[in-house]
Structures are given as C-alpha cells and as structure tokens.
C-alpha cells in the first residue's frame, strides 16, 4: 500500500522531469531589436533607444580626451562613433552597451564619418588629413588611403566605398565637392572611374543609399546663403545623375525610407524636408519643412517612422529632444536624449 502511494506520488514528478529534462537544450534566441542610435556630441555619449520601448533607452559614455563626435554608423550589434578631435573611433557593442574598443587614427585626423564594409572592416574619414582609414574593428588594425579634400561622409554600396569630399578649407567651402571611390579589397582608389564630380557649392557631408540603389548626397554649402543641393549619384556608372536646389540654408543629413521611397533631409533652419525618389520631386523643400527646431539629423526606422533630432542649446546639461514622426509626418511622441544630439542611425540588433 505504501509502495503504491509512493509510485502514485513519484510517477508524475518523474514524468515531468523526464519531459522537461529532455526538452531542446538550445533556447530560442531573443528576438532581434531595432534601435535608434543617437550621438550626443558635447557630452560624448551614444544613446541606444529601442524603437518599441523607448523608455528603456541606455546611454553609453564614449570616453576620450576631447571628443567631438557628430555621427554614428551601425551594423548589427556594432556601432562606430568617430570621435573628432580625439583622432579615434569608438567601437560600441550595442548588446552590452559598452565601448568595446577605441581605435586610434592618425594624428590630427579629426575623425568624422564612418561606414561598414562587412563583419570585420569599416572605414572612418580623416577630414583634416584628406584620407580615410580602413579599420578592422575586431582587432583594431588600420590602413589609411588618400582621398579628396576634407572627407566627412562615407557610404558603402555595390562593393565600393563612396567618400564624400566636403572640399572645405579653413572650415569654409573652397568649391564644389566630389566623391572618391575606394575599393575596400585593395584599399586603393577603385579601378575605372574613381572620382565623381558633384554640382553645387561644396561642403557635401552626408550620403545615403536610396531604395532605388542610387546614392543621395547632400551638398550643404556655406551655412548662410541657401546653397543646399541634393545630388543623385549612380554608384555603378559612377556619375551624378541629377542635382536639386531648394533645400535652403545649412541642410544636414539625408535618410532614405524604403517603405515610402521618400528621402528625408534634416535642417537647422528648415526642419525636416522631404524628397520623393521615384519621381525625383522635392515634396517639402525650404520654407515647407516640418518645423523641428534646431534639427541636426533625421533617421527612419523599418516601419517608416521618422526620428528628427532637436539639439537644444548644446550646453548646461539641457537634454535634446528626439521627435518621433509617423509616416505621414505628424508627431507621435518625443523622447529626451543627451546634451546636443547631432547624429543618428537605425540598426537591428540581433
């Protein structure tokens, strides 16, 4: 009788242990998380903001001696933040929210602009040296190659690195900008056409690859006299296809949205402007932008939500603001950032 009761008691437990104990030992991976990355320049931090849980944002101090970061690029769980006057680039692990490595660049690099090539290599611009440096962000190895004058924007597509040369002398445009094409395999200027002329008054500083595979480049101009122009570049033929004025004074970065085929342009003076890529039409140009004060940058997530940065006063510990716009460009919410947010990116952290 006692044995029977024991069997009745132990049997279910044994069964449960057997079933669960023999379950698949490889737990399912957590779902990939899409995050917006924001560079807070004067406080030298990187904000990691999950797009679906912005309240769980974290901030990563980037360290350095006198860092002046203004931009970020990302690939999966890795982000690169060039540190400007620190002549280095911070490699940030987005899963652990830590700087995993700081890679020194040549003296007086003024590190600005970066782009990933693959799971090992990336490029960083050295605008003060008219070079770009290929970095192995896993090992810290570097190799530098000469490009045009004041390279400050980088974009990788079609197996080539497109270096946007701002052509600034004494921080002022010295003439029209151009693109230098680099072959990452040889780390030399690409065979064939290695230089693409751009129309406009120079200070080209940002580029993004549109949903049509073309390269969209913003020529900012002189910050004072409404010289902003958008160049469309064919990365295969390596030629400028078109150039559009009408972006006013001091336009900033561009962000292509694959869901709407629209390109968004940030501007301190105009807010968020909009360009339709298929029809090549300026939808919201100078004077018609979405009013975002002190709008330094704009990024778009996979659902077509637009994130526009308001830098705030860039001093006194006053936080900036990330304005979240619906695909129809109406504002849905705001998210506080760090002091002086000026650059951003969106990535899917696996």
């Amino acid at each position: 009788m006692i044995v029977h009761r024991l069997i009745r008691f132990v049997a279910p437990i044994t069964f449960a242990i057997a079933v669960n104990g023999c379950a698949d030992t490889t737990a399912p991976l957590p779902p990939a998380e899409e995050v917006v990355l924001i560079v807070n320049s004067t406080e030298a931090t990187l904000s990691i903001i999950p797009v679906d849980a912005p309240s769980s944002a974290v901030k990563v101090p980037l360290g350095g001696t006198s860092p002046t970061p203004v931009g970020v690029s990302a690939r999966g769980e890795v982000a690169l933040v060039p540190l400007g006057l620190d002549n280095s680039v911070a490699v940030v692990n987005l899963k652990t929210a830590t700087v995993s490595r700081t890679i020194q660049l040549p003296a007086n690099s003024g590190a600005t602009g970066s782009a990933f090539v693959n799971d090992t290599f990336a490029y960083v611009g050295n605008p003060n040296l008219n070079t770009v440096t290929r970095i192995n962000y896993l090992t810290g190895d570097t190799a530098t190659v000469a490009v045009g004058v004041f390279p400050q924007g980088l974009s990788y597509t079609r197996g080539r690195l497109f270096v946007v040369n701002g052509n600034l002398v004494n921080f002022a445009p010295a003439g029209a900008s151009w693109i230098t094409v680099i072959d990452p395999v040889t780390n030399l200027k690409s065979t064939g056409i290695d230089s693409i002329a751009l129309t406009g008054s120079g200070n080209a500083s940002f580029a993004d690859v549109g949903s049509d595979g073309l390269l969209y480049v913003m020529n900012t101009g002189d910050y004072t006299s409404g010289q902003g122009r958008l160049s469309i570049v064919d990365p295969v033929a390596r030629t400028e296809l078109a150039s559009f004025a009408g972006f006013g004074t001091g336009p900033g970065n561009v962000a292509a949205d694959a869901t709407s085929d629209h390109l968004f342009v940030s501007s301190y003076t105009e807010g968020v402007m909009e360009f339709d890529m298929p029809t090549r039409t300026v939808l919201k140009g100078a004077g018609a932008g979405i009013a975002i004060p002190l709008n330094a940058a704009v990024v778009v997530d996979s659902k077509g939500r637009v994130y526009a940065l308001d830098t705030g006063p860039c001093a006194g510990g006053v936080a900036g603001t990330l304005h979240v716009l619906r695909p129809d460009l109406t504002q849905s919410s705001t998210i506080p950032t760090g002091e002086c947010p000026v650059g951003g990116a969106v990535t899917l952290v696996p």
Partner: protein, 681 residues
Amino acid sequence: MRPFPGACIVLLTCPAFLLAQAPSRVTGRILDTTDAAPLALAEISLGARLVTSRADGSFDLGSVSPGRYQLRIRRVGYSPSEQSLDVEPATDRNVEVRLLPSPIQLDSIAVTAAGQGIVLDGEDAVRRGSDLSKSLDGWEGLVVRRSGGSGAAAPQLRGGSPDELLVLVDGFSINDPLTGRADLSRIPSSQVREVRLLPGAQSVRAGSRAVTGVLSIETRTHLAPESSAWLASYGALGGHAAATLGGFALSFSGERLPNQYGYDVAPGGAQATRENAGGNVWNGSIHSSGRVEFVARGSASDHGIPGISNNPTLHAQGSDRSLLLGLRTLGAIELSGTVEGLSTRFQDSAPPAPRAPYDSRTRGLGASLALHTSRALSAGVWRGAFTYGGDARYDAFEGDQVQPGSNFYRGSLRADARLSPGAGSHFSLAPAIRLDDWKNRSAPALSLRLDAEWHLGGTTVTAALGNGVTTPVLADLFFREQNGVAINPDLRPERTLWEAEAGIRREGRVLRMPATASVRAFAGRLDDMILWSVRPASGFVWTPGNFDVRRLGGEASLALHPSRTFSLQGTSTWAAVTVLVPGHYQVLYRPRVTHSASVGWSPGAWELDVRWHFVGRRFPNSAGQNPLAAYAVADAGVERRVGALLLRAELDDIANRRPAFIAGFPTPGRSVRATLTMELP
C-alpha cells in the same frame, strides 16, 4: 623628466633641521589715543595671524617665530596703525598700541567693510610657492586653472568660472578686460605683503566679476633691495629683482619657459613630448605708498600656443602686452583712476589642416574713475562709518578678433556702512547697496547685501545675505563671427538672485594645541550664468548662452600649532554648482570637492613645508558624462637663510601625478626648482 635628485633627500633629512630656535609669545592692548579707553573689536594682524581685541582691549597673537614683522591694527572709526615688531628668540613681547579716532576706516578702494576675510601673509605665500599661481592653488578652496604646465593660470572659487572671481592688486583689478580672467602666474610671491580672500557674492561692494568672491592682494610698499633667480628641472628659469628708490617700490621679473617637456598621454600610459610650449614672460611694477599711491604695472609675453595634446599646433605663437597706470588717494575722500592698454597677437603660419594660416591682432584701451567718501556715522546707539560714492569705466577694442565698434561703458553708485551698537559691542552690521548701469541696459540694476558679525570670546560668527550682478566679459560680447564664433545678441548679465552665507570661526585649543577652526556654508542661485556651447551640425560654431544654476556648498578649515615650530593646516571645500535642469548636473569643469593640507616646520634657520591638494573629479560637459578623474598633488619646499642669501629648494608634484585640470593640457610632472635670493646692499 629628470630624476628626483638624491641630494634633496639628504637636504630634507639634514640634522641641521633639528636645531630649534624658540619662538616668543606676542600679546598687547589696543587703546584710544584721546582717553586711553580700551578698544574692543580692533583687528590685529601679524604675519598670517589675525585676531580681534577683547573688551578690555587686550589681544594674544600666540607663539610667533623670531623675526621682523609688520604689526597692523584696524578698527572702525580709527586710523589704521602699522609698525615693525622685532620678535627675539624666547623673549615674549607685550605691545601697547594707541589708535587715533578717525572716520576713515578703509584702506582699499574696492574692498570695503565686507568683513575680515581670510588672510595669507606674504611670508606664508612665499613658503607655499614662488608665484601666486602655485602659492594659492588649494588655499581656502581656490583652484588654479592652467592651460598646461606653464603660462597663464587663472583662479576660480566655489565652483565659479575664472571670470567670476575679482582679483585686485593694490586695489586695482588685474582681471583681463577682454576675457575677465586674472593670471596669478605673473605675481611673484616675494612681492606680496598680504593676500585677503573674501568669498561669496561681493559685487555689491566690489563691482563686476565679484560673483564668487574677491581676492585682494596687497604688495609690499617697501621692498628690500634683493635679487633672486630660479631654475626648474624641466627647463624653466627666471629671475626677480626688487628695490625701493625714492619712495617707489620697484619690482621686475622675467621667466623663460621651456619649449618642450615630457608628459604621460594618460595616467600610467605612454610618454609623449609637449612641444611649442615655450616663451618669455616679463613683468614690472612701480608702487608708491603714502596718502597718494601711484601704481604702474606692465607685462609682455611671447609664447607658443601648443594646442590640445592630441591636436598640437606646433607653429602657433601668441604675444601680449599690457600696461596699467593707476592713482589713488587714501583719506576721507578716496579718488582713484586708471588708464589701461593692451594688445594681443595670435598667429600660425602653418596650422594643421584644414585651418588656413592666420595672424590676428587686437588692441584695447580702458579707463576708470572712482570717487568714494567715508565719514563717521552715529545714529542712536549705532556708531560706525559710512562710505558712499560711484565709479565709471570705459573700454574700447579694435582688431581682427573683435567686431568693429566694440566698446563698452558702465557705471555704478554705491553706499555701505559698518555699524556697531556702541563702544565695546561684540556685534556689528555692514549693509551695502549698489546701482549698476551699463551700455544697452534699459534700467539700472539694484544690488543689496547685509553682513553681520558677532564676536564672543574667541568665537566669531558671521552671516550675510545679498544679491548682485556682473556684466558679461567683453570677449563674450565682441568676438567676431568669422572665427567660428557666433555672437548672441540676447546675452544677459549674470545675476546672483540671492546668496546666503553663514560661518563660525573659533580660536582656542584642540587636544591642548592652539588651534583655529572655521566652517562656512553658502547657498544661492545664480541666474544667467554664461556658458559657451558648440553647434556641431552648423560648422562647429561656438556661441555663449545663459543658464540658471543653483549654488550650494561650504568650506571647513583647521589650523593647529602642536609646537612653537610646527604648524598644520587643512581645508576642505564642497561646492555643488548645478544647472537647473532635470538631473541637476554639475557645471562643466567645476570640481565639487577640493581638499588641501599643509605642514610647516621652522626649526631655527631652516624652514620646511609640505603641501598637498586634491581636486575632485570634473566633467568636461554639463551633462554629467565622461568625468575626468580626481587628482592629488603634493609639493615640498625647504629654505635656509645664510647671511644675505636665502636658499630655497622645492619639489613639485612629488608623486609625479602630472595632473591636468582640463583634459588635453598636460603638465610637466615631478620637478625640482631651486631659488637663490640675495639681499642687496
């Protein structure tokens, strides 16, 4: 960096230190000349010692090392007295001083009856360092902010910026008219008779720049003929000569800074060489004393501008010239005026890309005039002195660095008093009121302050409440747009909305040792503090802006005299200066905590001193991110007089911490400095 020579260790442990020379006790009484009535509340200073006479007029300065001193006495309603006092070894002195009634109570045109402040005697200043930038770093919460290991060194206090501390030398401001900063590195300690610090919002009495306090430096009006030369192990050398001729105290100094020195890239990290850091600095002054004082000060420097360590500017050069002529009368009517000229030049023939070569010059001319009248005041039981008057100043600048038509004028009216309820009272009040007006201001700004003091035996309790205003430094207003700087036409002056302060000072005994202890606390709000910010997305343009901050903090100090030849001093400060935004972050580059300690030992002909100071972590931004590590520095010095020669050896930064107040401006680290001073016939 050259190694620490073993000879210094031998020097420090020399048995000659053990030779003691017994000090003497100095006591006395203060009496009224007319009726021999005892005078209470007279301020008696001898060297660094400062006491107040008791109700019966008596005072006790304690044990004093042998030597010749200046004994100074001040009291409301009486003419100040100053006399030499020789203290012989092991011979106590009892001094009787009679004061002449007079409505005149003030000996400075700018710092009036704002309390006694904290005093550092010139001899102690020399012991603490060869120039005031070294001597005052860490003293009573002062933090000296350097741009590298040598060159300009600006003091800041209570979490303020360098342009928020007014620095007076012989009553005339040495704050740069353009930048608002004072450079203490150009004042040899040996030239200083006394340093007096009045912490707190003092702009009501002292005018613009006195947001966090006033540092008043009085130089010696009689300079014994002497000449000195010094040499530092990292390559710097300099000299100083002084004399008094025909009633004029003359002082001249020169310094040559090394062009290179080694430093650590990061604490414990790789070594690097700081280049283009050298130059020559020349300073000269003439100071006459008497009822009419004349001051002439001039300086010239030509120096490299090495830039930030990781972005060096190897060819940048700077030069500046300045000259100030000042005149002031002392008496019932105080009249003072200055004429000041300056020129600066910055050039770089081969700056790092993408900057283009530049050569910019700026010239400035300023003039000021002040008139104040003092008179005795009696209202009911209240008795004291009343001062009123006004001042005006005009500055004009031209050149490549400033906008065309850059001129600025300002004026003020001021009245203040110091009152006691009858003779022998232990209580005094010092109310003050000020009206300020300046260019482009629609209405005058009113400032008020009330100080109160109670003397209870060896205890002094002080309290103050007031507000204030200070004009933006002219560099904030006038920089040209083209230099990566945007003018803010809406920039407002900084306003101390209110500030309250309380303190207690006690002279007595701790563990049977003569001791002086003090504790002060302050709280206030400063609106429209001016901070510069950068707009990276529009071409790295810098622009000034206004931010409201809260100020809260305190200082505590203790001085012990375990024996007649041994003294210990320590000060700790805490200053939370936080921007009024969510998070309440500390304003950038304001350490919240500082500590300092010093030990002095004077066994006979030898004197030994060791100093240590700690600067807490600082943030390079006002968002509480990427803090710079705290640092501590210890220095030591030893000196001995041999006939007409004074030999002094200093070991700076003993532990070779190589601290940098601001990241990217490295310092030479441990260095030895030898000074030889010779009295001239």
